[in-house]
Symmetry: C2
Subunit: 239 residues, 2 copies
């Protein structure tokens, strides 16, 4: 399990230019094992998106225990990436296919932007109507076709039905968090949900309009994609 | 009064390449006033050092009140720099010459480094002996010639006596803060104090050795300069 600050990376998934988070971890593993080791993440995160708890697995012959594996990671990764724990798993474990759900958090800062939070939240200066945001969230919660909340067009999509088990708007002081949990998330779904909830908070959309957008199953320009810097993958669930 | 994340800046003080924090604020003021406006900070901060509360003053004809001045700053500065408050002062107020003291905080993170703290603390993996650090701090506290804790050599220095009114080592969970307050700080003094206290915590120096270094009034290689990213200017005092 690992955490990363995605600010300086083009995302999780391996890139042609070999500078994605996956590439950096694989490079370290190649140093440790003396041969290429492929890792499999629970899913991609976009360029600039962060993780507190991304899960990945790999197959390799290692006889020195998990503690030494963890130490080997710690000594050789850049400060943006931290392997937090290592555990041995069954041969047939797959970080992506065995995942039963994920939790994301989207962080918003209200009022003037704080220099020390600038990389880790979306700063929204205008006051937000929290009650309206919560009303919209309760409409979005549940099992729906979330086609209107993904960035892919119809031809690229497979099944777009997801069970959004949790969608909470939590305010503490000047910090607002949108916490979502689902069996899976479509491409840019979490940032689209955050964008729409902020639009509702600003009065640009009503909860009733959100209900129509959801039912339309069509992505429109009314659905804003919130910037990546506020998004954190916070948990991957396994049986 | 302003806060800034110093990570991407060559320090507070105006530079030939005009990209210091002072330069950026002056550029914004030139846009607001339509003419060059010089600002005067309470003191410099080095490249990479942060501030929660740097104070600067400037002379300009502004008739729209402090609230509009603040708004004008807010709309035109990069996210790393935040003007937190503006107030009208007496004609003879000088941010540097009127300052009676400053407070700095140096932040250390114990154990494995956290990706989201990487720009704002010094990560120290080895366990630190807190009692020894506190003993060394009590030796350094008070009115002394701090020549051994500055980076300048003798010929460049004026008076090196400073009244270190406070030097506390505060631990909370994995976060360790060194808080210092003095009538003034010599060049790199705070980072040298932090470096020495960490050396004591690691057992590389004893408190008795720190007493000798202080008395010697000579900078030696035993005095480590802690990295700038952990340092924050947190308060400037005025009468």
């Amino acid at each position: 399990m690992c955490a990363y600050d995605g600010t300086n990376f083009p995302g999780w998934q391996s890139q042609v230019r070999a500078n994605a988070i996956q590439d950096v971890i694989e490079k370290r593993l190649a140093e440790i094992f003396g041969e290429p080791v492929r890792i499999y993440g629970s899913g991609r995160t976009d360029s600039g998106v962060h993780a507190h708890a991304q899960v990945f697995h790999f197959d390799a012959a290692w006889t020195h225990g998990v503690k030494k594996m963890l130490a080997a990671f710690r000594s050789g990764l850049p400060p943006e990436i931290q392997v937090k724990s290592v555990q041995a798993v069954a041969d047939d474990f797959h970080a992506r296919f065995n995942a039963t759900g994920k939790r994301y958090e989207y962080r918003i800062q209200l009022g003037p932007s704080d220099p020390f939070e600038r990389l880790y939240c979306w700063s929204v200066f205008r006051p937000l109507d929290l009650a309206a945001m919560k009303a919209a969230a309760s409409i979005l919660r549940g099992r729906h076709d979330f086609s209107a909340f993904t960035a892919l067009n119809g031809s690229e999509r497979e099944d777009s039905v997801r069970d959004l088990r949790r969608l909470d708007v939590v305010k503490r002081g000047r910090s607002l968090r949108i916490v979502a949990e689902a069996d899976g998330f479509l491409y840019k779904m979490m940032r689209s949900l955050a964008g729409v909830l902020v639009s509702v908070g600003e009065g640009k959309l009503t909860p009733a309009r959100v209900r129509e957008i959801l039912a339309s199953k069509e992505r429109t320009a009314r659905v804003l994609t919130a910037p990546p810097r506020g998004l954190f993958l916070t948990k991957v669930y396994y049986p």
